[in-house]
């Protein structure tokens, strides 16, 4: 249970260190905190419309089950490549919604077992990359960027690499 201990010390430790250095540098702690917190409120209101819009779009797409149905169609092709079809819906959702893919990971854990091949691939995939489309729409949306140029390509490339690497690593090491 060591790792959980590390995890739970992390956050308080960061806060502690910041306050300690602040105190040492004679920063007026509370005033500064409130000043920053006000920035946080402004930021939040800027972000909320992007968040709502994105959740709306992503959920309508997921709930229509278009994505899962597409994979049923191509399952023979993926079987040939030795890629288990069961992992594909999660691989596709991973760049779109972190919460949805987290839920799908738990679902795979429950169906196939935490220590199964699929379970491990799912865990690696969830841990080693972040939600590309969410980050793009949030970050670029908040400052009003319309033309994102090659950002999506580069971001999705990282997701594809992570997916293939997760499959490879788990088959090699377990």
């Amino acid at each position: 249970m060591n790792f959980l201990a590390i995890g739970s010390y992390l956050l308080p430790l960061v806060v502690f260190l910041i306050l300690l250095v602040g105190l040492w540098k004679k920063v007026p702690l509370f005033d500064t905190f409130v000043e920053g917190a006000k920035d946080g409120i402004r930021l939040g209101f800027q972000v909320f419309p992007c968040l709502l819009g994105m959740i709306f779009g992503v959920n309508l797409l997921l709930k229509s089950s278009l994505i899962t149905d597409i994979f049923q169609l191509f399952s023979p092709f993926f079987t040939k490549l030795h890629i288990p079809v069961e992992i594909l819906p999660m691989a596709l959702v991973r760049p779109i919604s972190g919460n949805a893919s987290f839920a799908m990971m738990i679902d795979l854990f429950q169906t196939y077992g935490v220590d199964s091949f699929l379970g491990r691939v799912a865990a690696l995939m969830q841990g080693a990359t972040d939600t590309t489309i969410y980050v793009i729409s949030l970050y670029f949306g908040s400052i009003g960027i319309k033309n994102i140029r090659y950002a999506l390509k580069a971001g999705l490339f990282a997701d594809l690499v992570t997916f293939l690497m997760s499959l490879l690593f788990v088959s090699l090491f377990f």
Partner: protein
Amino acid sequence: MVNVIWGCFLLLGLVYGFLTGKVEVMNQEILSCGSRSLELFLSLFPMMILWSGIMKIAEKAGILSFLARRMRPLFSILFPELEADDPALEYIASNLTINLLGIHNASTPFGLKAMQCLQEKNPKKDTATKSMITFLVLNTSGVTLIASDILAVRSSMGASVPTDLLFLTIVATLLNTFLALLYNAFLARRSS
């Protein structure tokens, strides 16, 4: 681009929903999506306020600029077009540090701040700059050293050794970040 993606998501979802007779599901989604995103927002928003406050202290105490100085050699490779003392780099440094620790919700305010700083120097306000995309790639490739939420779930669901993926996750995240940065540099060169 975001406009096109968003539009496609909605249109594809709606059309496919109609075709497969899921009108009820669509209805429910449209009616409940607002309150669900508000729920998510309400869990994020206080975190943002709290961390913006704490990080303001870190900023005033010089911790952020210290981190940015430490990461300067790395930054001069990743963001060649930014000055070494650009304020955006301080926010990028703190965003990356917090991401490394796996506290994603807390890192978002810095990412947004960094983007705002980059936007101030952007000559074409509606078009992403090279630095913005590089920073975005660093974020989406998810440089995380301890994915504590996954560890927690794995151990609670009875994994024999929950930590057995820890090392592989780190290797995978570093490798995919490195490859994504290479690809990003290639795309940047081709587009300019």
